[in-house]
Each structure stands twice: as C-alpha cells, then as structure tokens.
Amino acid sequence: MRIFHNTNYDFLGKRKKFYFVSLAIIVIGFTVLFTTKSIPLGIDFIGGTELQIKFEKDINISELREAMDNAGFAGMEIKTMGSDKDILLRTPLQEEGQVVSDKIQQGIEAKFPDTKFEVLRLDKVGPKIGAELRRNAIFAVLFSLIAILIYLAFRFQFVFAVAAVIALFHDVLITIATIAIFDAIFPNLRLEFNQSMLAAFLTLVGFSSNDTVIVFDRIRENIKLFKNENILDVMNKSVNSTLSRTVITSGTVFLTVLVLFIFGGEVNRSFAFTFGVGIITGTYSSVFVASAIVVDWKERTTALLKDKVAKRSKITTPKVKKVNA
C-alpha cells in the first residue's frame, strides 16, 4: 500500500497564500484571546486553591454556589466535571496555612450535611511558587528555542536555522490562537494553561522541529544533487519526496494523541489537545513556513546577486567601450 507516491505538488509556489492563512488564524485567535479573556491560567501559574470533589449523589450547583458565598468565597469558580456529582472548585484566594481548603470543606458540610463527599484532589499553590513556575515556563520555551537555533545553525546553513525557529514561533502562536478559539466555542473542553499544557507546548516545539529537520535534511541532500536547478524546484521536490513520510508520521502520532485525548482522562486532556493542534501546525509549518522562508530568502539573495552582477556588468561595459574607443 502506498499513499502520496511520486507526487509533484507545487507547495512552495503558493506560499504567499499560506502566509496569509497563518496570519489570519493568529490575528483571529489573539483577538478572541484578548476580547474574551479565554484560556484561563491554571492555579499552577497564578497561585490559589483547587479542589476536586466527588459527592455521593447529585447536588444542586446553585445551592453549592450559595454555600460558598456564605463561607466567604463569593464568586468562586465552580464547575461540574461530567456529572453533578463531580465538582471542581477553584479560588485564587491565598492565605497562610490551609485555611482556604478547610473553610471550603466546612462550608460544604454545613450546606449538605447529609451528602457525603470525598476530596479527590487538592492543589494549593502559593503565589510565590506560581510566579516561579511562570518564570520557569518562559525560560523553558526560550531556552529550547535558542538551543534548537544553535544546533541547526551547526548542522545546516544559518538561514535554515532562523527559518526553523520562526516556524516554531509560528507553531506556538497558531496553537495558542487555536486553543483560544476552541475554548471560546467549546467551554466544556475546560482547557486551561497549566503545567501539562506547558509540557505540551514544549513537546510540540520538539516535534515540530523534528518535522522541519526531516524536510530540511532532504533539501540539504537535494541541493547537492541538483546543483543547477532552480531552488524552488529543488525544494518542492524535497517536500514531495518526504510527503508520504510526513503524512504517515504525523498521522500516527496524531492518532496516539487522539486516543490520549479521548481516553486519557481529565488530567491529560489539555496536554492532548494542545499537542494535537501542535502536530497539525508543526507539519504544516515545516513546509509552508520554514521551507517557504528559506525559498524567499534564497530567491532574494540570488536576485540580489543577479542585480549586483547586472550592475557590475553595466558599469564594466562602458569601460570596455571606452577602452575600445
């Protein structure tokens, strides 16, 4: 069985259109992000207390909200998880000691004295830790981008390294934009920026660079093989010959992530969603961003070169004439 055997699509010829598509998604996504304030930061990054509670039987959410208001947590975030038995409570309130979670539990006990409940999960993150995690997250992303830039600059021409890193930035931005859009349309997905979403972002950076490297590897090889051909043709050829690999790999990884998204449970969902989006953009960007930038760069430099050559010949020709005269 074969798919995409001996294809010959002109991917890079249409690159300007795809620049526009990428830009459009990013603009729309970030507009949504800033207007609706979606993608909430998890308590990992802002500090706060979060409780996941399982009640013995269904409870009335508005009563629970009332109970929390009475307990001194007005406007607390209360979400159901699947059923009215499973509740997620979250407050950014941060006090010394453990007062918050105790008060919450006392509040529930007072309101529902007959309904037993079990605290499945309790997370409490101090504001200082939150700030630290936030800082480390930014460092982690920045340092991995720098590390990739350095590595690629060693293994390929510098322009390839720059193009790859731009593509990675593009992937991160597109993924954020997509999450923002999805979060606005399907709030039930409960996507939030927490530690595991951060892990997903770093993984997608790794995976997308992996994809880009494989396309670049073929370009590097083909540039040597077809020295006399137009750069656009060489690159199109390279993208086409790696196409089946790209589709199969991205397809299988996407498949595993899809399984994780569906069956992996609440904890893995943010990770799976983010990475799933990342796989698609990562595959797309290795062709339409990374390779496209290289093409643009090469065409410009060759054009400049031609210009220079042309200018030089213009200047030299009269000289020759003069001599002749």
């Binding site: 000691g97 105790d102 309790l122 101090g126 480390n136 770093l202 992996n210 010959s241 069956f263």
Partner: protein, 692 residues
C-alpha cells in the same frame, strides 16, 4: 555476520537486563494481588511469611508517582520572618511592625528576606545589632551570624520533618532539600492531608526524659511476653536469621558530663570519659542464651548485672525471681532449642536484649519493627504497661547481619525538662582523644533545673527525645552545674552533627510553612492509572496494526522494535529508581510516536531505493544510511528540549521529560541497531522482505 554478532549480543543483554530490572515490579504486583485477596489475620500472616520478598520487591519495583498512586506532595518554606522574630533578643512594637511589613513584601518579592528586613530597619533608623547583637559585635558579624542561623534552620527543619514523617508511618516517603530554604516532601498513599499538615507545621518538641529503670523495664517486657505466650494469634517469625550475632550489637555508651572549665571538674571529666569507654559493651554470640537466662530469671546472672548498676531497685530484682518459679523453666533453660525458645519467648525473639549492658534497651530488626509496634499497640498489652512508661524508638539504626537494627527504649512518660532552655549546641572533636563530642549550653533557669536533675540521677541515663524519638541516651556522670554539658560517645562526626541539630531544634524551632500542596485521593489515582494505561495500550495497538498493514513484514519488525523499546524504557526507569507519573505515561506515548516515525523514515527511504531499481540488500543498507542524518538530528533536538524541560519543569513535568529522554535514547538504539540486524540476517538467509 561478525559485524552483527556484537549487535545481537548487545540487544540480548539489553533485553535480559530490562527484564531483570522489571521482574521485582511484576513480583510486587503479584504479591500484592494475593495480599489483597486476604483479610484480617490471614493478611498479617501472609505479610509475616513473605516479609523479605515483599520488602525487596517494593524497594526495586518501578516507582509510581503520586498522581498515579494517590498521596500528598508538599513544599515547605522556612518561615524566615518567624525565625527573625524568635531570634530577637527583645521584641518591641517597632520590631513587630517592621516584621509585618517584611512579611507582606516577601509574599511577592524575590529579594532575600534578610535584605528586605535590613532595609526596613534602616528606614526606621535602626540596625540588626539593636535586636540581635551584643555590645561588642559589629553589624557585619551580626548579619553573618543571622545568615548562618537561617541556613542552619533548614537542616533543622529537614531533620524535624524527617523524624515526624518516619513516625507517621508512610511507606517510601521522599524528603528533599531544595536550595536554601525549601523542603519538598512526597507522601504516597496519605489520605488525610489535614493530619499531615498539622504534623509538618507544628512546633518541634525536644525533651529530656529519664530512661526507665532497667530492672522494672525488663519486668514489663516479661509481662508482655507472658501475654503473648497465652495468645496464639501472634505468629512467631520463622526466619532463623533472627539471631543477631557477636560483635554486631555494639552498644555505645554515651555519657553526659559537665563542661565546666574549673580544674576539678575537668579532671573528673577525663575520668568519666575513660570510664565510658570501658563500659561500651557488646552483645555476644550467646545473646540468645542471655535472653533465655534473662527470661528464665537466672538469679545469679541477674544479681551480677544488678551489682554493676548502682541504682537498680532491689524490689525489681526480687520480683523477677518471683514472677516465674516453675521448675521446668529453671532446669531446662540452657537446653531449649531455638524453636522452643521462640514458642516460649515470642516477644524476646522480636525484641532482643543485651543482658550484660545493664540496660533494658531492646534491639529490633527492621523487618520486625511493624510487628513489635502492632504488639505494643494492642489494647490488652497496653493495659499491662505501667502508665509512667512509654516506648520510644531510636532515630538511628545500625547494621547487623545485613539488616537494620532499631533500638527500642523505655523512658518515663513525663519529661524532666524541655529543650527550650538550651541556648546553644555545638558539635566538636575532643582534642584530647579525637572523638566527636557535642557541647550544649543552657540559660540560667535551665541550668539550675539541669543541676538538680543530673545531681539526682548520677549514673542513670537521660534520653534526649525529639518528638518522641530518642536521639541519644547518655549516662549522667556527674552533677552538672552552670549549664554547660558535654555529650560524648558518638560513633562519628555525622552523628555528633545530627545531635547538634536536634539540640538546636530545642533552642530555636525552625518554623516552616506550606507554600505548595497537592493531594490526590487514591481513587483518582486509580482512575488516572487506568485511563493512562488503557489509552497507551489502545494507541500502541492501533499504531502497530497500521504499521503491519502499511509496511507488511517491515512493519512487523518495527512493531517488535517498538515492544523492545517500551521494555527498555521501563527497565531503565526501574533500574535508575525513576518515578513513573501520568505525564510520564504521556511521554511514553510520545516515544511510541517517535519510534514509529524513525521506522517510517527508514522504510520510506528503502522503498525509494527499491523503486530506483536497487537490489534488496543495497536498498536496505542505503535506506538506513540515508535516513541516519535526519534521525540523529531530530532525536538530538528532541533530547535537548527534553533536558531543558527537565531543568525548568517541576515534579510532574520532569517525569514527562525523563520518559521522553529515555524513550528517544532507547529509540535510537532499537531503530538503528535491532531492526537493521533483523533485516541483515533475513537477507543473508536469502529471504525476501516486503516493505509493502
């Protein structure tokens, strides 16, 4: 073939190693499965019978993270503001006000708290010396003293926390010191966070307690033993390794002396020092016999030892004779076989004593500790223990015959005094004989109490007890006046250092606060492990099927590599004692994806070469060769990001990074070596390989 031989051997060795490291995990799983079927008395018997196996399997199994197992993760921060408040010589309103401000600022600022404090003091025209220094000290001296106090407080806090966690009885707790002021604690399986919180944040209690009179204590031990003999439900351990042999049970006699510099006392100090050296004794080969004798109340022996002890109560001695006068035991004591001894003296089998030491310290093997605790906590046993006696474990263990031995002390329930009176403690080396010593100073009020207590208990032992754990039980050599005491007889400098930390915990508690806490109920842990594992399996099967369909035989070889890959990743994790977390499983799934990618890359290249008309052998070799640069580049990049992730991520993220890094390394190996070898061998045998 020769080229392949080394690769084949490497592969086989790697697989065998992985299985070897994963076997305890399997063993632990099956043992626990059996155990979960049993209940009540049956399960206790099962644990007793398979104790060694259970322990070794648990130690070597693949560790599961808290998110999979349920439990509690706590980050503690040393409360420097509280520490500054506690250390101040005088506490006026101005100081309280400044500290409150500092506390507010420290919530958001990264600046060192001491720095902020200094700035705030200066704003009010004050300096550190006003509150912390002596007249002669310079400001810089005071500051460096404070800095070292703050640093030391972390050690204190760690010791206090470790002590308490150990007592709380959590299996496999992890306590880690991070940076200058943080402690990370992981408590698997803890389901009552409130209790743990109190345990961790409470103030440590250091006490001085008299060691219970040995004669009376032995009597209590005997009474417990008698109770057990009448009770058949206690299974007596059949492990014959129970006997602790010669030399292995050395008791170090620690002694407590006055550190006054007056000539007279220093002379007596030396005296006591030499005495204490001589008194260090060992449990001999016949320790078992000793116990028999003790249990059988061999009058002569008993009297000999009691003679050594100046202060042994005579009534204890006589009552010992009276308790058991049955002729049988008197005559047959020496002839009792080991089995009979166990049947007759179950408690002394578990808690061995050294008759010659003149103490009633019990020696308990690590594997028996739980059992002894179970016995001591039984209602009927509790009823026969005198109300003024409590049992306390030693903080340290020593090794004998490959097992850790705990010391079980009997001490008075009520403390003679608390450690609050201690003003300083320092560990040192005694220049006269190069042995480690710890000196301790007390305030004036404490000193006079201390003089009274030591004076009344010369040649008796006083236990230094931190949160109910005995850190040392030195013998009082002389009445100590002036509050300067010296403790000697520690085995090494580390032990002395630890005692210093403990004594200081009495002087200055190390206040800690919880800054991060995550607890996961065991049922959520089960849910996530089930979800994680089932999704991993589903993903694995889907991908494996696709590979076989798409690449035919090549695909099935890739699937084999995939399985070996998983085996190696888990084997490496088990051998490095790494922890598998839920994000770790995500990393594992990602590794599956990467492993498939590598094979796809190679197979696509082979197909291209085959299409170009190359023969199979050349196509395979070229395929591997040409795909190599892409494989190495992509793996290295991912490994680099993995390492960065590991550096900057916290707990769960690190788990993800770790499995990913292991996965990528295993993948490089399986993809480049194992599959290639298989194809090579097939081709050599003239078989045709289909790549779909």
């Amino acid at each position: 073939m020769k080229k392949n031989l080394s690769r084949i051997i490497t592969t086989i060795v790697l697989i065998i190693l992985s299985i070897y490291f994963l076997y305890p995990t399997y063993k632990d799983y099956t043992l626990n499965k059996e155990l979960s079927k049993l209940s009540g008395q049956d399960s206790i018997e099962f644990v007793d019978k398979n104790n060694q196996e259970l322990i070794s399997a648990r130690e070597k199994r693949l560790k599961l993270g808290l998110d999979l197992k349920g439990g509690m993760y706590v980050v503690l921060d040393v409360d420097v503001v509280k520490l500054l408040e506690d250390m101040a010589r005088k506490k006026d309103e101005q100081l309280t006000g400044i500290l409150a401000e500092v506390k507010e600022i420290s919530k958001t600022s990264d600046e060192l708290i001491l720095e902020t404090f200094k700035i705030k003091l200066r704003e009010k025209g004050l300096n550190l010396k006003n509150y912390y220094g002596e007249i002669r000290d310079s400001e810089a001296d005071v500051e460096s003293k404070l800095t070292s106090e703050i640093d030391n407080s972390l050690d204190r806090a760690v010791e206090i926390v470790r002590n308490r966690v150990d007592q709380y009885g959590v299996a496999e707790p992890q306590i880690q010191k991070i940076g200058n002021s943080r402690i990370i604690i992981e408590l698997p399986g803890v389901s009552n966070p409130e209790e743990v919180r109190k345990l961790l944040e409470g103030t440590a209690l250091l006490e001085f307690k008299l060691v219970y009179d040995p004669g009376k204590a032995v009597k209590v031990f005997e009474a417990i033993n008698k109770m057990l003999v009448g009770d058949t439900s206690i299974a007596v351990d059949s492990i014959s390794a129970n006997k602790i042999s010669e030399d292995s049970l050395k008791t170090k006699n620690e002694s407590l002396t006055s550190k006054d510099t007056t000539k007279n006392t220093s002379a007596s100090n030396k005296d006591s020092l030499s005495k204490s050296k001589n008194t260090s004794s060992s449990i001999t080969k016949d320790s078992l016999k000793d116990k028999k004798i003790a249990a059988d109340k061999d009058k002569k022996d008993k009297k000999d030892t009691s003679k050594n002890k100046k202060d042994t109560a005579t009534d204890a001695d006589t009552s010992l004779v009276e308790t058991d006068t049955s002729a049988e035991s008197d005559t047959s004591a020496a002839q009792l076989s080991e089995e009979e001894f166990k049947a007759k003296y179950p408690f002394f089998t578990l808690v061995q004593m050294n008759q010659e030491s003149g103490t009633a310290d019990g020696y308990v093997k690590d594997s028996d500790k739980d059992k002894v605790e179970r016995i001591l906590n039984r209602e009927d046993i509790k009823a026969i223990i005198p109300t003024d006696l409590i049992f306390a474990w030693s903080n340290k263990t020593f090794d004998a015959e490959g097992e850790k031995i705990h010391v079980l002390y009997t001490v008075k329930r009520d403390a003679e005094m608390t450690g609050k009176v201690i003003t300083d403690a320092r560990s040192n080396i005694d220049p006269t004989n190069n042995t480690p010593i710890v000196s301790m100073e007390m305030d004036s009020e404490g000193s006079s109490d201390w003089a009274r207590i030591t004076g009344a208990n010369i040649n008796k032992r006083i236990a230094i007890v931190l949160d109910n754990v005995v850190y040392s039980a030195p013998v009082v050599r002389s009445k100590i006046t002036g509050g300067n005491s010296q403790i000697e007889g520690m085995a090494n400098v580390q032990e002395a250092k630890l005692l210093e930390i403990v004594l200081k915990a009495g002087a200055l508690p190390a206040p800690v606060k919880i800054i991060e806490e995550r607890s996961i109920g065991p049922s959520l842990g089960e849910d996530s492990i089930r979800a994680g594992i089932s999704s991993s399996f589903a993903a694995l099967i889907l991908v494996a099927l696709f590979m076989v369909v798409y690449y035919k035989f090549g695909g099935s070889v890739a699937d084999l590599a995939l399985i070996i890959n998983m085996l190696v990743i888990l084997g490496v994790m088990a051998s490095l004692k790494a922890t598998l977390t839920l994000p770790g499983i995500a990393g594992l799934i990602l590794s599956i994806g990467m492993s498939v990618d590598t094979n796809v890359l190679i197979f696509e290249r082979i197909r291209e070469e085959l299409n170009g008309g190359k023969p199979l052998r050349t196509a395979v070799d070229l395929g591997y060769k040409k795909a190599f640069s892409a494989i190495i580049d992509s793996h290295l990049i991912s490994i680099i990001t993995g390492i960065i992730l590991y550096q900057f991520g916290s707990g769960p993220i690190q788990g993800f990074a770790l499995t990913l890094i292991f996965g990528l390394l295993a993948n490089l190996f399986t993809a480049i070596i194992i599959t290639h070898v298989i194809f090579d061998i097939m081709i050599e045998k003239g078989k045709n390989i289909s790549f779909g």
